[in-house]
């Protein structure tokens, strides 16, 4: 009798919900268990695949029924599942289909052909194709990759470096993790192509320490393919729990072994980066998109997708209180409503959606009224929001937006690198201010003057205390200072979640009565 081939992901999320025990159980039944990457349908993990058909979420109790074909966990052919069929997977083309560390699987699915072609066409043509594809940085800022590469290629230096930013600190995002755990060679190939383009022989991957599985797999992958990418070399480095080290200059300092403080720009890292040498810093997804683009005709195919100046596809991450969470790669242009309701199936709790945070902890909270906004860098910027790294975190109507705004300030205070005052001190003042506002919620808002304000030397302090409206005005003012006075986006963008929460859900800050009174009078308020 031939052995049944059972495929179960060894992605960290699948393992966190029991995939290892499940794999062992199928092995015990005499099956040939292959550990593959994840399809990205996270609500179905652990997902068991036999002959292309899926069963999930599977537990140990389901093993026998799955093998005898009577399981009620059956979801039919995985590739035909609407969540998969609707996607356009370029960067995640191998997701669910290959064994992450198998060189045989990688080559068998077109692996290394981008690098081979890159080596034939040479630096200029590589950069030209990456530029033509319209690929923009997927780490948050959306800077055109081709232009960055051109700058590094033209810069003079005795050595150059490729640095892959795998710090993925944004909550609600996991595509970098899935890429590194599921298709590590694609990332390494992208880095080697970047090296070929700019004349670098050394690459670093800086992975956050919260990703043990990704670290292990990337280390192994770098060893196993060393002979293929040589003379290019890849070294894995592990972060140490600082969110700000995702900012590129802070990351470079961290790699150099000093405090992860943000550097002032210029000089750009492209000119003076790691150890003062010209350096490409790109996100995992940016680099992983490159092998496809360098394939025959890949650049044109990529450019043909998307809208406006947002070209190609974006691996979007559906997270938080969502029914069908996971990885959804699609061409730019899809609306938020489609993502949350049609694809994501609404909330996990079944309650109405209250707010959606797009772009991680520094991204704005959007209400369902804004669900027609399309996924496009410029459209989000115009709406005072950001795409960031493509994370979408859904909240149901039990969420308290006042405490989420407080958390944004708290996070900024905890993670600030300390270099500039609006961020380092402003975030702490922000927490205090929001606490005062929230404390006034029950009492109708406002507060009495404190001892310091009453002292005669504080000539400009109001002696009558402050009304709720004035406190909110103060918070808005503080946010403006942080926005325009911070060196990097940690201090500069923390106001987005705070102000958007305040704008759309003022009642969560001051209670219903005051919110009513305020409508139209608060700067940035609903009626403003």
């Amino acid at each position: 009798m031939t052995q049944t081939i059972v495929r179960i992901s060894d992605d960290a999320l699948a393992r966190a919900v029991g995939a290892d025990a499940l794999a062992a159980a199928f092995e015990k039944q005499g099956c040939d268990v292959q550990r593959t990457s994840s399809w990205g349908m996270h609500w179905l993990e652990p997902l068991v695949e036999i002959d292309g058909k899926g069963f999930g979420p599977a537990t140990l109790a389901d093993v026998d029924a799955i093998l005898s074909g009577t399981s009620d966990r059956a979801i039919g052919a995985i590739e035909d599942h609407p969540f998969i069929a609707r996607q356009q997977r370029l960067t995640f083309a191998r997701a669910g289909k290959t064994r992450p560390l198998s060189l045989e699987d990688y080559e068998g699915t077109g692996g290394w052909s981008g690098l081979k072609r890159a080596r034939q066409i040479g630096s200029d043509a590589i950069i030209e194709e990456v530029t033509r594809s319209g690929l923009r940085g997927r780490g948050g800022a959306g800077f055109p990759a081709g232009i960055k590469w051109r700058t590094v290629a033209n810069a003079v230096g005795d050595r150059k470096y490729i640095v892959c930013n795998a710090d993925e600190g944004d909550s609600g995002t996991f595509a970098d993790r899935m890429m590194m755990e599921g298709d590590p060679y694609a990332l390494i190939e992208g880095m080697a192509i970047a090296g070929e383009a700019v004349g670098a022989l050394k690459g670093f991957v800086y992975i956050r320490s919260e990703y043990p599985d990704a670290i292990r797999k990337m280390e192994r992958a770098a060893q196993l393919c060393a002979h293929i990418i040589a003379p290019f070399e890849v070294e894995i480095r592990v972060g140490a729990g600082a969110y700000v080290c995702g900012e590129e200059t802070s990351l470079l300092n961290s790699l150099e072994g000093v405090r992860g403080e943000v550097r002032a720009k210029p000089p750009l890292p492209a000119i003076r980066g790691l150890f003062g040498r010209p350096t490409v810093v790109n996100n995992v997804l940016t680099l992983s998109a490159v092998p496809h683009i360098l394939g025959e005709g890949g650049a044109n195919d990529y450019e043909a997708l998307g809208m406006g100046r947002s070209k190609g596809t974006m691996p979007i991450q559906l997270a938080g209180n969502i029914k069908h969470g996971g990885l959804y790669e699609a061409a730019f242009g899809v609306t938020l409503g489609e993502l949350v309701n049609d694809i994501g199936g609404g909330t996990h709790s079944g309650r109405p959606v209250k707010a959606v945070q797009v772009g991680g902890p520094l991204g704005a909270y959007l209400p369902p009224e804004q669900f027609d906004i399309v996924f496009d860098y410029e459209a989000y910027t115009a709406a005072d929001a950001l795409i960031g790294h493509g994370g979408i975190t859904v909240f149901d109507d039990t969420a308290d937006m006042g405490s989420m705004a407080r958390f944004a300030m708290e996070f900024c205070a905890a993670e600030s690198c300390g270099k500039c005052t609006p961020c380092r001190i402003g975030s702490v003042r922000g927490i205090e201010l929001i606490d005062r506002i929230l404390a006034g919620k029950e009492t109708g808002g406002g507060r009495q003057p404190d001892r310091i304000e009453l002292s005669p030397v504080m000539q400009n302090a109001p002696k009558r205390g402050r009304t709720a409206e004035e406190e909110i005005e103060l918070l808005t003012d503080l946010c403006e200072t942080m926005k325009f006075g911070s060196l990097c986006a940690l201090g500069g963008f923390t106001p987005y979640p705070v102000l958007s929460a305040l704008k759309h859900w003022p009642q969560d800050f001051t209670g219903e009565a005051v919110a009513e009174r305020e409508l139209g009078t608060v700067p940035g308020g609903k009626g403003a």
């Binding site: 993925e168 996991f174 945070q357």
Partner: protein, 141 residues
């Protein structure tokens, strides 16, 4: 082996790398459960840096502890996506289950945001936790 010798070995093991300090600190933290003042001084000496330079780096990062904590540790994600799935309302019972025996620490995202609440113990990750499973995870830590 004395601490001085061992730290000397660790430093020597990474000395050839470009920017060796973070890998050194990770290994010292792993081996001694902290990077205390004594270790800082030893690392500084071995690298021919000032102690202040090393201390500045150690104190910057959340992963390096100044003192060892012998308690088992459970890291619980307290970031937005896990908040959206209710982690905050589970924390009281988690604290109770932990008592003084288990150290609970907050992390901001484990990359399991579509299946939160999430937690980590050592190299093992846990997702889709509820009040009961989180408490029993902590009790068995």
């Amino acid at each position: 082996m004395s601490k001085e010798l061992r730290i000397g070995e660790i430093v020597a093991g990474h000395f050839h790398r470009e920017g060796p300090l973070l890998p050194i600190l990770h290994e010292v933290q792993e081996e001694f459960g902290c990077v205390d003042a004594e270790s800082e001084a030893l690392i500084a000496k071995a690298l021919n840096w000032s102690r202040a330079d090393v201390h500045g780096v150690v104190s910057f990062y959340h992963d390096f502890l100044a003192n060892p904590d012998p308690r088992p540790e459970v890291q619980i994600c307290r970031a937005e996506a896990c908040k959206a799935r209710g982690i905050e309302s589970m924390m009281d019972e988690a604290q109770q289950a932990a008592g003084d025996r288990v150290k609970l620490s907050a992390v901001y995202c484990l990359g399991l945001c579509s299946a939160g609440p999430a937690a980590r113990m050592g190299e093992t990750l846990h997702a889709r936790l509820d009040t009961g499973s989180l408490a029993s995870l902590i009790e068995n830590a």
